[in-house]
């Protein structure tokens, strides 16, 4: 009994372990990283709690008044109280729409990265660990996938989904279509990275030791090997998150994104784009800045993570 208690007090808490880790140290040492982490966090929270902090609900058509359309930001001469960053062409509060739009962008981003990660990591693990013909097949599929860059895959899947689902149903599945499109086009990177790491890890002696105990391959793959290849995966995931958000925006720009009634950041920019020359810059500039800041912050985090996790660069 006493042993257990001793073990407990010896064992530092997760938090304090994190705080003492090299990773956290290199994090703290880089002010830019701290700032980008804070910005990312703030943006994610803002998106998460959009319904509570947004002054208006832009997704509720009943609350919109077309007469409020294209109001400039509050601080300008023609600005109107209650619309801090002005309104768009439908009279939606730009600030609220950005918050809500970020929800969609982030949701698409996260979901597609998770999908790509799950797919890529699993396939990469299997390819690397099982090897042989399985490996060959998976990697050839990856080659074919690579032939189709992200935008193309997305356009295709979107096209097929539209044709299959029909317009009304499409609106309901558009989120999944986006996630699937973006997710599918990103998995190869994970698979290749993981496969490469697995090829290295699987010959490490701790894996041999696990095999000596007679563990099943799946147990070895997921319990032993996987935790040791997450580093690069995390790095890719972070950078992909930014990329996914931008891809979603780009797809929206190409007209294959979420409907304009529930715009994402990308859709907002696309809409606002039409008002750039006419002087209603706020419709596109604010979402644009938000998107850029979000992507930049996430990218900076990814950059830091890559360098911090790369022992060679330390």
């Amino acid at each position: 009994m006493t042993d257990a208690i001793r073990v407990k007090e010896e064992q530092p808490g997760v938090l304090s372990r994190i705080l003492r880790s090299d990773l956290f140290y290199s994090f703290r040492r880089s002010p830019i990283t701290v700032i980008s982490a804070a910005v990312t966090l703030v943006l994610i929270l803002a998106a998460l709690f959009a319904p509570w902090i947004a002054p208006h609900d832009p997704f509720d058509p009943a609350s919109l008044d077309i007469m409020n359309s294209l109001l400039p930001p509050q601080w300008t001469a023609d600005g109107q109280a209650g619309f801090l960053l002005g309104t768009d062409d439908q009279g939606r509060d730009v600030l609220s729409t950005i918050l809500y739009g970020m929800r969609i962008s982030l949701a698409v981003g996260f979901a597609s990265v998770v999908l790509a990660m799950a797919l890529g990591v699993t396939l990469g693990l299997i390819a690397g660990y099982v090897g042989g013909i399985t490996d060959t097949i998976i990697m050839r599929v990856a080659d074919v996938q690579l032939t189709f860059p992200a935008i193309l895959t997305a356009l295709l899947i979107d096209g097929v989904a539209r044709a299959l689902a029909g317009p009304q149903a499409y609106e309901e599945i558009v989120f999944f279509v986006l996630v699937l499109s973006i997710g599918l086009s990103f998995w190869v990177q994970y698979a290749r990275t993981v496969r490469g790491s697995v090829l290295v890890e699987a010959n490490k002696e701790y894996v041999l030791a696990a095999r000596l105990i007679g563990l099943r391959s799946s147990a070895i793959m997921f319990r032993h090997v996987l935790p040791n290849v997450v580093g690069p995966v995390l790095v890719i995931a972070t950078i992909n998150l930014a990329l996914a958000i931008i891809t979603e925006a780009t797809l929206s720009f190409l007209g294959v994104g979420v409907p304009p009634t529930q715009p994402s950041l990308g859709t907002l920019i696309r809409i606002g784009n039409d008002y750039l020359f006419s002087g209603e810059w706020w419709v596109t500039i604010f979402p644009g800045i938000t998107l850029a800041i979000l992507a930049l912050a996430v990218n900076l985090l990814g950059d830091w993570l890559r360098d911090a996790l790369n022992p060679k660069l330390r």
């Binding site: 090299d22 140290y25 290199s26 040492r29």
Partner: protein, 351 residues
């Protein structure tokens, strides 16, 4: 006669998040012309850093924080980069541990050789190529002329290390620093390479600083040996003396811990408890004191200097003739271990 290389109170620091680590602390030694000095120590003792410091290639953020390094009597530790570049290769040749990674895989062996030669010597490309071939012949590569146009991966490990030696000797340096030149090689090839290195340097009158953790290699190759412990000098002296009559308790422990082809195979190996401290956690006083069987008060409080004995010099208070005496049992045990305890003795009691 001035020493080929003279290291005076060298101190190398590595600033890290845990504060500034002192990787080399107050290290001094000389290498006489034509002499082979072995530098031994356990992994992390600072052997490679010493070598890098001498050739001026400390990996950042490491830096020389004190002391001086003299080559043929001139200071080289504070030379400007271009001047230092002329020293490297030309006056100090360097050999690294792994021959596989030391050679650029994308360049032919001949190109790497001629490039080095032409960097340091004024001659035609043709002449450089001739010299390159001569070098390869010298290091014992068969069909040297033809091999000049081979890529490194087409050589075996032992061959590659020979090429590396040829590269290090290309400009006939007066000092060769060899950092574990044979660790990556097979046992039977190790001996060939070591003897080749030794012979070539002897022919050229070059001094050698042979860094290794293999006492066996030192014992057979070096004239003198310098034992490092946690970045500090533990003992320095003639090889035979240090191996047969180690004066520092660490050296003593080391020598008895190494299994040998001679002696009683069933005898239990002596073991030094614990392991070498990390650089960030070097104990106060003598760095070795927590593991030392002969430690006494003074060891925990003060850092020993290198004290001369009849055979070698060692950094241990037991040998400090002017220092306070250790407890009698300790002194007795130490004497029993062959250490010439002088502490507390009025004068040299080593007769």
């Amino acid at each position: 006669m001035t020493a080929t290389l003279s290291v005076r109170n060298l101190r190398v620091e590595i600033p890290t998040r845990h504060g500034v680590l002192t990787a080399i602390d107050d290290l001094s030694f000389d290498i006489a012309p034509g002499e082979v000095l072995g530098v031994v120590g356990e992994s992390g003792a600072g052997k490679s850093i010493t070598g890098s410091a001498i050739i001026g290639l400390l990996d950042p953020p490491g830096r020389i924080a004190g002391g001086e390094i003299l080559l043929g009597g001139e200071r080289i530790d504070n030379l400007a980069p271009p001047a230092m570049r002329r020293v490297r290769g030309k006056r100090i040749g360097m050999i690294f541990q792994d021959p596989l990674t030391s050679l650029n895989p994308l360049y032919r062996v001949g190109d790497q050789l001629t490039q080095t030669i032409l960097t340091h010597e004024k001659m035609t490309a043709r002449a450089a190529l001739d010299k390159a071939e001569r070098l390869l012949v010298e290091v014992g590569i068969p069909a040297a002329g033809a091999r000049l146009s081979s890529y490194p991966h087409q050589f075996s490990g032992g061959m590659r290390q020979r090429v590396v030696i040829a590269l290090a000797l290309a400009a006939d340096p007066e000092l060769v620093v060899a950092d574990e030149p044979t660790t990556a090689l097979d046992v039977s090839v190790q001996a060939q390479v070591i003897s080749l290195l030794k012979r070539l340097c002897k022919d050229r009158g070059a001094s050698v600083m042979l860094i290794t953790h293999d006492m066996g290699v030192i014992a057979e190759t070096a004239d003198r040996v310098c034992v490092l412990y946690a970045g500090r000098l533990a003992e320095i002296g003639k090889v035979r003396d240090v191996v047969k009559h180690p004066q520092h308790p660490y050296t003593h422990g080391l020598m008895t811990a190494i299994p040998s082809l001679k002696g009683d195979p069933d005898a239990r190996l002596e073991q030094i408890p614990g392991s070498m401290p990390r650089l960030g956690a070097i104990p106060e006083g003598c760095a070795f004191n927590p593991r030392c069987g002969f430690r006494f008060e003074r060891c925990r409080a003060e850092r020993p200097a290198a004290y001369p004995t009849s055979r070698s010099e060692a950094s241990c208070f037991l040998l400090d003739a002017a220092g306070a005496a250790p407890p009698p049992e300790t002194a007795a045990a130490a004497r029993a271990a062959g250490i010439e305890v002088r502490a507390g003795a009025p004068t040299g009691a080593d007769a």
